[in-house]
């Protein structure tokens, strides 16, 4: 009475899943770039001297983190067209779903990144910046050459976590009908009336796992490069 298991199906389904890899990667890449930029602006505001900017950035992070992703997706998917219509009289409701999905994920990713950057920046000892300044480096040079590499080292493992989560989050896009790798997996299972679900998800897992390992390897290599000359605990 064992579970029917068909390992051959994993190989059979793999290329059908891979056909949707570009969607997963595209959404993730666009989100990563836009979200990091917005996250940087937010982090700067949080660490800056303007109380208003700090308050706004903190409030943004606070609210965004409390919002379930499906709620934000619907807010963006339905709220934005309503706003656009009210402001410009343009019907935005037929714009491509990918736009709304990327926008939603960007808003989330920026909140995560801003906290990540903030904690990484604060972890760098203040004396280092002062030493750099007293050696005649400009504020920007001190940031880029001294603070940033060290902050990046401590941020990298968590950036990897955020990126991996982002790849998997793409499956939420399915909620508004954008089919990515995971969505395709669910569809394949549905078309077979629920058959070979374990095999299909295993095939999807292989792809995601490979992507994860690639991200970790890249982050690890970067971590080692930036750590040259550092006297950490390791």
């Amino acid at each position: 009475m064992g579970r029917p298991f068909n390992p051959g199906y994993i190989l059979e389904v793999l290329p059908r899943l891979l056909a949707f890899l570009p969607v997963t990667l595209g959404v993730a890449a666009a989100t990563a770039v836009l979200g990091t930029l917005l996250g940087f602006v937010l982090a700067k505001a949080k660490l800056g001297s303007s109380a208003l900017a700090r308050g706004l950035a903190d409030a943004y992070t606070w609210v965004l983190r409390c919002t379930p992703s499906i709620v934000l997706l619907f807010l963006v998917y339905y709220g934005l067209p309503a706003l656009v219509k009210a402001a410009f009289g343009v019907d935005a409701s037929r714009w491509h779903r990918a736009f709304y999905v990327v926008l939603t994920f960007t808003l989330f990713f920026a909140a995560t990144m801003s906290e990540l950057m903030r904690s990484a920046y604060l972890a760098v000892d203040r004396g280092q910046r002062e030493a750099a300044l007293s050696h005649g480096l400009s504020e920007f040079q001190a940031f880029r050459r001294i603070v940033l590499p060290q902050a990046a080292v401590s941020a990298l493992p968590n950036v990897a976590t955020a990126l991996v989560a982002l790849l998997k989050e793409g499956s939420l896009a399915y909620t508004v009908g954008l089919v990515d790798l995971m969505g395709q997996g669910s569809l394949i299972i549905a078309r077979g009336f629920g058959a070979w679900s374990l095999e299909t998800y295993l095939a999807a897992a292989l792809i995601y796992w490979a992507l994860t390992v690639a991200i970790e390897k890249a982050a690890g290599a970067l971590e080692r490069r930036l750590s040259v000359g550092r006297r950490g605990l390791a």
Partner: protein
């Protein structure tokens, strides 16, 4: 369209009944994952050959594979196997009588441990080795150095990311509904089904999460402020 405010209020109250499940799942997961994640992080830092390799495989697998697969395995495949083992061995236990909450705790702990270990590892790495050496030279044991010098500083660095992970966990526990566990989101979805009132249901869910996650964030901010008094003041870059 108009909002059905009566329905919204009713669903809000109903979904609050799922709060003990949501929070219980979250706390149970953290209780399991925090010590395990810490140990994994230490293994990752000290390059204990075989262990380290195993740890890194586990971390990439746990973070990298779809949670639906993990749920499928823990909720469906493993109990079936356990049942067969029990039958072959002649044990008189009903494997399937187990409350699905436990399956949920296993799945979420499996995931969260990996995330936490990376948070802890990256935090410990920010503490300068000089501090550790200074602690040793002033007569502390390695263990004391960790407990009194390294961990408090690392904890401060880790806090914002721990807050992130905890909040993601609170929101993520709604996946337990795949295993028939009724948390806040599940109750709202069940209510929505009969009359298709999804707008109101998701609004109710949103309100509950704003309060719960808001309180969680406030707690973390408070701890960060308390621990942060020894840290040099924030400066603009």
């Amino acid at each position: 369209m108009g909002l059905d405010l009566d329905y919204l209020a009713r669903t809000l109250l109903l979904s609050l009944r799922g709060l003990p499940v949501t929070l219980g799942l979250c706390v149970a997961t953290l209780v399991v994952s925090l010590p395990l994640g810490f140990m994994l992080a230490i293994v990752g830092i000290y390059r204990v050959r075989v262990l380290r390799k195993l740890a890194s495989v586990y971390i990439s697998f746990a973070r990298g594979t779809p949670i639906v697969l993990q749920i499928l395995v823990v909720y469906s495949v493993l109990p079936s196997l356990a049942n067969q083992v029990a039958i072959r061995a002649g044990w008189d236990v009903d494997v399937f009588a187990l409350n699905p909450l436990w399956y949920a705790v296993v799945v979420f702990s499996f995931n969260t441990t990996a995330v936490l270990s990376e948070i802890v590892r990256s935090a410990i790495l920010t503490v300068d080795r000089g501090q550790y050496e200074a602690a040793l030279s002033s007569g502390m044991t390695s263990r004391q150095a960790y407990r009194r010098i390294i961990v408090p500083q690392a904890l401060l660095v880790a806090l914002p990311n721990l807050a992130n992970a905890t909040i993601n966990l609170i929101k993520g526990t709604s996946l337990a509904f795949l295993m028939a566990v009724r948390d806040v989101t599940a109750i709202a979805k069940i209510e929505a089904a009969r009359g298709y009132d999804y707008v109101e249901s998701y609004l109710a869910v949103f309100i509950v999460y704003v309060f719960v996650c808001g309180a969680t964030q406030a707690l973390f901010t408070l701890i960060e402020r308390r621990l942060g008094i020894y840290r040099a003041p924030v400066v603009a870059f």
